[in-house]
Each structure stands twice: as structure tokens, then as C-alpha cells.
């Protein structure tokens, strides 16, 4: 595999990059056409391939980051979706504040995955009739504790396949995440179902390109910075939300040198996105992405957004400078209505942009009532910007170091997260990052602004896939919910942690192989491991293992020419 194309379909522009062995051969840019996401993609590919040196190209691998899923969710363009839920007892499902119609079913799986109450098939039939009559076009099925035992969800799917195939495909909650959180699983599955059709159309169009351009494997970028095989994205489209920010972060990783423990700031006009690297890897959200205000179980980067950017509104009361959180237009230098941090930078001679004279006069006017000279006020504005960013960074690290832990040894280890370096991206970064680094007492690196950074990030990323393996030797059960895998443990006494680890790794390898990707066992890491003795009446009756395994996240390193 020598040629690689990365394309980021952003809110404004579509950027593309053609790579050969980590070297950038060409970049392209075109405005994004939101009605036809694939047209921009198509023209980017055409241009990039026309630049290809030599005659007949080898097959070219394509990595795509699109706003399709994000926009569909944020703008509510998904299909009207019904969710069959099996809530069992607990927090009343009527209390869930979700924008989907929920159809409850009888049935109850407990925390160890035991069936307490079976499904009622007659009731299921009634609910399906109601769903059909109401005209829902998308359907998800989610049971409480279904990652522990997904037989109810599977039974419902096969009954639909038999009696109401027009309702297919249905999204089953357990396949999208092995993590526990019923409400988030409902949201994740429902959103996935609601955008499945849009995703399928998009996949068809991209496949047409494949034939046309002799493309090799095609992957879509996910919220966790990994990629997902194009075909598989029809089933797991929800994982491609927030792929823009992910592409940006992967771009940072590919372009920055030696990230270990670092805080990364992407400073834009309106907001600054803050993410965290620990031990060379981007930190993930504990539960999953939050999109359009909905908490989900979609694996995603940890990131926090603050209303602080180059175009944020600056106010001054003679004493304190306040910045943001709103933006009311571009900097005064570019004809904007209010003083912005960028204007302050211009006054201080830190940049060349628009008409700095206008910036000077605006800042002069802002300081005049309080007798504050324009240069002094400009200094104060830049300092206030840096202070605010530094403050938020400190709070984020405090939050991370206060994350609850559940073992004595973790409490004794104490604070784990500490930034050693500050990394800046985005247009205004070059002006503010040095000041923020000073505030935090950290060395910094400002990445050279690269219009194609997101496309580079998309190109640099690799497939990721995580599975949950849970085995309960007392019940003799082993499940991998993401893969519909359930088996009876035949030799509970020789089942041990080693066996559990090998099984978990094997499942990741097999899954990847299904999509034509071969990994070595050494490329799989175990991210969570729990082992408990199960004791009843003073006797050990078995052990409980819970493991999460995934392909080690990596990026290709990319050289700028």
C-alpha cells in the first residue's frame, strides 16, 4: 500500500491530501457542497489522482472524514425513529428525556446477565403493529443489561426478520457498546438507526467512486480518531460523528514532534478546543461522546470547548478585561464591530492583517474613558486571553485528577495527569500560545498552520476497534456483545485470566480480519481488566472477568514538504 488519500469534508471547505509513504505529494481544496457531500469528495479525488506521478497508479487507500453523521444528528435530519426497550425495574423509563418514541416490552435481564423474566411475544407483536401504524422508518432495540445477555435483543431481531422484514435493518444496542448505561445505549442505538439510511446512500455513492478510480480500501474516520471500514459504517454509522475534531487531533499527532503528556489547544475565531494527551495517546471521554446535548456511548476523544477565540468580544471596565464568550463578528481590523483579541495582537505588532490602524483606534476608544493607553490595554487583553485559557486548562487537569477511582492503590497513586508541554493549532495560536505557555510554566510548540491539517489527520489514522469480553465462570458464560458472541464455558476450572486475555485478543484479531486487516497480537492492547472472586455462603463458586481489548491507537507520521 503505497498511496493514500485523506479527505476532510469540513463545514466550509473540503480538503484533500495525497500521500506516498508518509510524504505529502499534493493537496486540494474546494468549498463543501452540503447537498451532495460526495461531489466534493469526487472532485478532490479526481484532482489528487491527476497529480499522481507516473503512469498506472497502484490501488489507492482512501480515508474520509465527513460531517454527514454529525450534521444529520445536530440538524435532526435522521429518520423518525422508534425504540423497543426492555427496561425491567429501576429508574422509570418514562423519566428519560429522549427525543425518540419508546415502546416498552416485558422482560428482565439482571446485572449478571441472568434472565429474570422472559419476553412476551404477543406483546412484542402488538408493539410492532403500533410502530408500523405510526409510520416509523427506523427502529432500534435496547434492553437493560443487554451487554451482559443479548438474547432478548437477538430474538426480537429475528422475529422482525421473519414477520416484518420491511422494518429491517434494526439497530441492536449491545452491538454498539459493551459498556453499561441503559439511557446512553438507547440514545446511541436510536441515533444510529435514525441515520442508517443516509449513511447507506452515502456508502453507495462512495463505492461508485471506488470502481471509477481503482481505489483500494476505503475507511471513514470515527470520533475516537480511528477508522471504520466503509461497508461496516452502514451498521455503525453513529461512530462517525464528530470525526472533524478527531481529524484535527489526529493531524496534531501526526505533525507535532514527540507528544507524550501534553495539552493541545485548537484556537479558532469563536472557540478554543482543548484536548489532552497522556503517555503519547489522546485521552478518551470516560463514557462516550456527547452530541447535540445527548450523552452517548460512542467512543470519542476527551475535549472541552470554551468560548474564547481570536474574534471573541473584548469588554473593559477600567479595571478588568473580559473576553468572550460571544463573537459578534470579525476583528475591527477586518471591519468588525467590536474589539477582539486579534485586534490587540495587531496593535502590538504581532501580526499583519486587515487595517491595524482601525484596531488601534478601537482599542484607544475602549481605554480612553478610563485613561488607559492603547498599548497598555492591548497588552492587558492578550494577557487576559492567556490567563483565561490557562485557568481553564488548570480546571480541566483538576477535573481529570479528581476522576473517581475504585481501588485503594489508585487512591494512593494520587494525581496522574500533568501536562509537560503545550501544543497550539489554529490561525490565532501563534499569537497566544507563547503567553499561555508562560502562564502555565510549560514549553510550547505551535504547529505551522496547515490548511489540510484535518485531511492529513484523516490520512494518518488507522483502524480501531474495541471489544468487551465478560465471563462468569459460576454461570459458565462468556460473551462479547459487540460481536454477538456468546459461548458456554466448558472448563470453568481451567479458565483463568490468561485464557480470558487470549480470548479477548483473538476476538479483536478475528474481527479485524473480517474487514481484511491483519494485526499481530502484539498490536492489541487490554485497556480494562477486572477479576473478582464470586463467593456465596463462604465458598468461592467462580470468578468474574471483564476485559476490554482494542487495536493500539497509532498514527502514521507525516512529513510536511
Amino acid at each position: 500500500m503505497s498511496y493514500l488519500i485523506g479527505i476532510d469534508v469540513g463545514g466550509t471547505n473540503t480538503n484533500g491530501v495525497l500521500l506516498k509513504e508518509g510524504k505529502i505529494l499534493a493537496t486540494v481544496k474546494a468549498p463543501t457542497d452540503h447537498q451532495n457531500l460526495h461531489t466534493g469528495t469526487r472532485s478532490a479525488i479526481t484532482q489528487l489522482l491527476s497529480d499522481l506521478p507516473g503512469k498506472e497508479p497502484d490501488k489507492v487507500e482512501l480515508h474520509l472524514s465527513t460531517t454527514l453523521a454529525t450534521n444529520a444528528v445536530v440538524e435532526g435530519k435522521g429518520a423518525p425513529t422508534a425504540v423497543l426497550i426492555i427496561p425491567g425495574p429501576g429508574l422509570r423509563w418514562e423519566e428519560f428525556k429522549l427525543p425518540f418514541k419508546l415502546y416498552p416490552l416485558t422482560g428482565y435481564i439482571d446485572h449478571r446477565g441472568r434472565e429474570v423474566k422472559p419476553l412476551d411475544r404477543a406483546e412484542l407483536r402488538q408493539q410492532l403493529t403500533a410502530i408500523k401504524e405510526a409510520g416509523y422508518q427506523a427502529l432500534a432495540v435496547v434492553g437493560k443489561f443487554s451487554p451482559r445477555n443479548f438474547q432478548h435483543e437477538l430474538a426480537i431481531e429475528s422475529m422482525i426478520a421473519k414477520d416484518d422484514p420491511q422494518l429491517l435493518p434494526v439497530t441492536l444496542g449491545h452491538r454498539l457498546s459493551g459498556k453499561l448505561n441503559f439511557a446512553r445505549r438507547i440514545t446511541t442505538a436510536a441515533l444510529n438507526a435514525s441515520i442508517a439510511k443516509l449513511q447507506a446512500e452515502f456508502v453507495h455513492m462512495v463505492q461508485a467512486l471506488k470502481a471509477q478510480y481503482r481505489l483500494g480500501r476505503i475507511y471513514l474516520l470515527k470520533a475516537d480518531g480511528g477508522t471504520l471500514a466503509l461497508q461496516e459504517s452502514i451498521n455503525r454509522s453513529i461512530e462517525t460523528i464528530l470525526s472533524g475534531p478527531a481529524a484535527s487531533l489526529m493531524g496534531t499527532m501526526a505533525l507535532a514532534d514527540g507528544i507524550q503528556d501534553a495539552v493541545a489547544l485548537d484556537i479558532g475565531g469563536t472557540t478554543t478546543e482543548i484536548s489532552v494527551f497522556a503517555g503519547g495517546e489522546p485521552l478518551a471521554e470516560r463514557e462516550g461522546a456527547v452530541i447535540a446535548g445527548f450523552p452517548t456511548l460512542v467512543p470519542a476523544f476527551f475535549s472541552r470547548s470554551i468560548g474564547l477565540g481570536g474574534d471573541s468580544v473584548v469588554t473593559y471596565d477600567g479595571n478588568r478585561v473580559t473576553i468572550g464568550p460571544q463573537r459578534e463578528g470579525p476583528p475591527v481590523a477586518l471591519g468588525g464591530p467590536r474589539v477582539t483579541p486579534t485586534d490587540a495582537v495587531l496593535v502590538l505588532g504581532g501580526a499583519a492583517l486587515g487595517n491595524p490602524q482601525r484596531s488601534f483606534r478601537a482599542i484607544q476608544a475602549l481605554g480612553a474613558p478610563f485613561g488607559c493607553a492603547p498599548l497598555r490595554l492591548a497588552e492587558q487583553i492578550v494577557t487576559a486571553f492567556a490567563e483565561k485559557a490557562a485557568q481553564v486548562i488548570k480546571e480541566i487537569y483538576q477535573e481529570l485528577n479528581n476522576r473517581p477511582v475504585y481501588t485503594v492503590s489508585q487512591v494512593l497513586t494520587g494525581a496522574n495527569f500533568q501536562p509537560q508541554k503545550l501544543i497550539g493549532m489554529g490561525g490565532p495560536a501563534v499569537y497566544f500560545i507563547p503567553k499561555i505557555g508562560q502562564q502555565l510554566g510549560l514549553p510550547y510548540q505551535v504547529l505551522p498552520y496547515h490548511e489540510a491539517a484535518n485531511a492529513i489527520g484523516a490520512a494518518a489514522s488507522r483502524p480501531t476497534f474495541a471489544i468487551t469480553l465478560r465471563s462468569d465462570t459460576a454461570l459458565g458464560q462468556l460473551v462479547v456483545p459487540e460481536l454477538d458472541y456468546a459461548e458456554t464455558i466448558r472448563r470453568p476450572f481451567s479458565f483463568n485470566l490468561e485464557v480470558a486475555r487470549e480470548e479477548a485478543i483473538r476476538h479483536v484479531l478475528d474481527y479485524a480480519a473480517e474487514f481484511g486487516v491483519r494485526y499481530e497480537p502484539a498490536e492489541i492492547e487490554l485497556t480494562e481488566e477486572e477479576v473478582f472472586n464470586l463467593v456465596r455462603g463462604f465458598h468461592t463458586i467462580g470468578k468474574y472477568y471483564s476485559l476490554r481489548a482494542q487495536v493500539k491507537p497509532k498514527t502514521r507520521s507525516i512529513q510536511l514538504c
Binding site: P89, G90, L91, R92, E95, Y108, D110, H111, R112, V116, K144, F145, K179, L180, N181, F182, A183, R184, E287, P295, N402, R403, P404, V405, Y406, T407, V408, S409, V411, L412, E530, F532, N533, L534, V535, G537, F538, H539, T540, Y544
Partner: protein, 447 residues
């Protein structure tokens, strides 16, 4: 979200600590509770926020206990985290970060007495007392607290710590001591001469359930609290009176617990016992959290809930009778003839045998409480403890109360000096909770 979260949850299941691998107090105890809380998505609710526990400092422990020979020798880190996590929960409420807090952690603490030779009833350090003393120190001693202990076992440790403390009301509702460890908590145990009537015990006959527990709360606890006007109400919420608990014979349900929490509306809930780790704890804890958060808990039902426990039935006559007795005792506590109860001597003396079931230690205590008109009086405790296969230990301790009068301070020092000069004691301790810095407990190694 408007305002602060209703409930701060300090959850610490200590997944790497056990008394012994197959002991009820083991790693697995809160595993299913963790799973239930996560699956119900409780931590995503704006009403609930989770916090990390902290380690209690040695002086936090010494404000409460005399640990023999020292805090370091009897405590593991898990004890310091359980106590520190309870303090954290208290800080959340007193600092106004959350309206209420729930210290959902292990190991428990309510069987830990003032003098600690080891672990009894799975408890080594009394978390509620550590919290109360921590807050009392930061409030300069001006703090009135009510502790309502609803664990199925008598809270003999907490009772012992506050037996003679006029600022702390301690109410324990438990399975009758004649049928369950530790055997104490009879209805006529009402506190020492300096705090008579501020210790209340309501033993429930085996088989009691939601009707009895809720009756006691409505007719005894709530009126007493209204009268006492505490600054802080703590519910020591043991969950071992659940109908599935393997160690007790009670019939309380998750709905009963949740309703109790709603009625009591405590500032703080602290987990104590509860060893039905699958059948009870996941449901009871979710019920308590929802009730504290003011959310609908009526859907929280155990899978094994027998239909008869959901039916209304009359409260047992014995409980109605005992509640009436305690109401009357409470109302007339200030007129009680203390000479008749405690004698006319300058000192009230008692002699007790105590058993540490967890560590198999037998202890004999001789206690003297000075009867002082100016303060609640200093205490002297002589303790002889024997553990099979070890050299017996003999210690003497002199304890000053909060707001001790000058005379008591002076006399306590004198008594301490005499004890130190004797060769009879392996260790002699002097404890003053009002000291701002260590040592709060002065130790003299007699030998």
C-alpha cells in the same frame, strides 16, 4: 442546570481490599451496585455528581479513637479512605457544593468503639464519628448532629463514642440484640450522665419490615429531630435488614429504604453493613440515591421481591409500644432523676465485656465518667484486651470532652500523670479533641 446538584456521591467500592478472600466484607461487595448505578445511568443525571474520596489524616482518626497501640498499627489504607471519603461527603454539604451527599463506601465503621484494639463487626474506624469530629473541629465545637443508624445491627460503636456527649443525638434502630450481634442496644440504654436521653435505641423484633421501620421514623425519629434541631442529620444506612440479607432476619425492601430516605431527608447518608450483595445492595442503593435526588424511585424493585412484602399490614404491637415508651422518655428526659439512674457518686462507673468478632479479641473495660456540673465530664477507661496467641495488653486512657471545664482539664492531667507513673499499663493515653495540632492523643509507653 440551575443550582447545585442535589446529591454528591462519594462512591468507593475498594475493589482491591478484603478482610479475607471469602469474608462478607470483600472486593465483590459493591461490584453489582457499581454495575446497577452505571446501567441506570445515574451519574449522567444533573441531580447527581460523583466525587473521589480522600485519605483521612491520622489526626482525624485520633480526634475520635484511641487506637492500640497506634493508628498506623490498626488501620489499613482502606480504613483511612472509608473515613476520608465520609469526611469528603460531609465537606460537600457543609461547603455548599451539593445539597446532600451519600458516602457509598466500604469498609463500614459503626461497630468501632472509642478504644480500638482491632476490628469488630467488620469495623475498625468509625467513619461517622470521624466526620462529626472533623466538622466539629472546623466549626470550633459549635455543632449539633443527629446520627440515625438504621443498620440491622446495633450501632454500639457510635453509641460508645457519643454516649456522654450532649451535642450529639444518636438513634439506633436495629434487630433486637437478644437475637443478633453485638447483643446491645436495649431500649433502656439512654446515654451517660452528661447526655441522658440523647442515646435512643429501638430494637425491632426479627421479621420486622417496612411498616415497622417507617413507623419508627415517622413517630419517633422525625418528632425527636424536630425537637433536637440538629445542624446536620446523618443516616448511617446499613442495608442488612433487607429481606435477602444472609446475616439477619429482617424484611425491609428497597422501596422501604427509599421511602425512609425520603422521609428522613438526611444531609448525609453513609453506608454501613449489608451483605446481600446481589439481591439487595444494587437495588437499595439505587433507591436511596434516587430518593436523595428527589427522583421517582417507585420502579426500583428487587427481582426476588415476595408479593406479601408489598402488601400493607399493621405495624407490630411491640414496636408501637416501644416507640410510645421512647417518645415519653424523650419528652421527659430533662426531668429525669439522674441520681436514681447513675447514683450519687462523684463518678459514674461501669464495667463491660466487649467482643471483637472479626479479630477474635476479648476486652474488659472499666470506665469512670466524672459527674461535673460545668461540663459533660472527663472519662477514664481501663482496658484489658486478649487475643488468642498473643500477649494480652493493658491500657489506660483519659478522655477530655468537648468544652471541658478548667477543673476537668486539670483533674484529667493529674489522673493521666498518676497512670503514667504506674508500671501497670502497657500504654497510657490522653485524648483532647479540641487540640488543634497533633498530638491529639498523648501516648506514654508505661513499660
Amino acid at each position: 442546570m440551575d443550582g447545585k446538584p442535589k446529591v454528591g456521591l462519594v462512591f468507593f467500592p475498594a475493589f482491591d481490599w478484603a478482610i479475607a478472600p471469602d469474608h462478607p466484607e470483600r472486593e465483590e461487595r459493591l461490584l453489582y451496585t457499581r454495575d446497577q448505578i452505571r446501567e441506570e445511568g445515574l451519574l449522567d443525571l444533573p441531580e447527581i455528581e460523583e466525587f473521589r474520596p480522600q485519605l483521612a489524616a491520622v489526626e482525624d482518626i485520633e480526634r475520635v479513637h484511641i487506637c492500640v497501640p497506634s493508628v498506623a498499627k490498626v488501620c489499613t489504607e482502606s480504613h483511612l479512605i472509608a473515613a476520608g471519603g465520609t469526611v469528603r461527603a460531609g465537606q460537600l454539604v457543609t461547603a455548599g457544593k451539593t445539597e446532600r451527599a451519600f458516602a457509598l463506601l466500604r469498609p463500614p465503621g459503626h461497630h468501632a468503639l472509642r478504644i480500638v484494639h482491632g476490628s469488630r463487626g467488620f469495623c475498625t474506624i468509625n467513619s461517622e464519628a470521624v466526620l462529626v469530629e472533623y466538622l466539629r473541629k472546623s466549626w470550633g465545637g459549635r455543632l449539633r448532629v443527629a446520627i440515625v443508624d438504621t443498620d440491622a445491627h446495633h450501632a454500639d460503636g457510635t453509641q460508645d463514642v457519643y454516649y456522654n456527649d450532649p451535642d450529639i443525638l444518636h438513634i439506633s434502630i436495629h434487630q433486637d440484640g437478644r437475637t443478633l450481634y453485638p447483643g446491645t442496644g436495649a431500649i433502656n440504654e439512654l446515654g451517660g450522665p452528661g447526655a441522658y436521653g440523647l442515646t435512643l435505641n429501638l430494637p425491632l423484633p426479627p421479621g420486622s419490615g417496612d411498616p415497622e421501620l417507617l413507623y419508627a421514623v415517622e413517630h419517633l425519629v422525625l418528632p425527636v429531630l424536630k425537637d433536637f434541631q440538629p445542624d446536620l442529620v446523618i443516616n448511617a444506612a446499613g442495608q442488612d435488614n433487607h429481606f435477602t440479607d444472609p446475616l439477619t432476619n429482617m424484611n425491609v425492601t428497597a422501596q422501604g429504604y427509599a421511602r425512609l430516605t425520603e422521609l428522613l431527608a438526611p444531609d448525609l447518608v453513609v453506608l454501613e453493613g449489608g451483605y446481600s450483595i446481589e439481591g439487595s445492595l444494587p437495588y437499595v442503593n439505587v433507591g436511596i440515591i434516587l430518593a436523595l435526588a428527589g427522583l421517582d424511585y417507585t420502579g426500583v424493585l428487587e427481582p426476588e421481591l415476595p408479593p406479601e412484602l408489598r402488601q400493607e399490614r399493621p405495624v407490630r404491637e411491640e414496636v408501637v409500644h416501644n416507640v410510645a415508651f421512647l417518645q415519653e422518655t424523650w419528652a421527659s428526659r430533662k426531668e429525669a432523676d439522674l441520681e436514681r439512674v447513675f447514683g450519687a457518686d462523684e463518678f459514674f462507673r461501669r464495667k463491660r465485656r466487649l467482643y471483637y468478632d472479626t479479630d477474635d479479641i476479648h476486652e474488659m473495660q472499666l470506665e469512670e465518667i466524672k459527674r461535673c456540673g460545668q461540663c459533660s465530664g472527663y472519662r477514664k477507661i481501663l482496658s484489658f484486651a486478649e487475643r488468642y496467641g498473643r500477649k494480652p495488653v493493658q491500657i489506660a486512657a483519659v478522655l477530655l470532652p468537648w468544652h471541658a471545664c478548667a477543673t476537668c482539664r486539670h483533674q484529667a492531667q493529674e489522673v493521666y500523670a498518676i497512670l503514667v507513673s504506674s508500671t501497670e499499663w502497657d500504654y497510657v493515653y490522653l485524648q483532647n479533641p479540641e487540640d488543634q495540632e497533633r498530638p491529639l492523643v498523648t501516648v506514654s509507653n508505661g513499660a
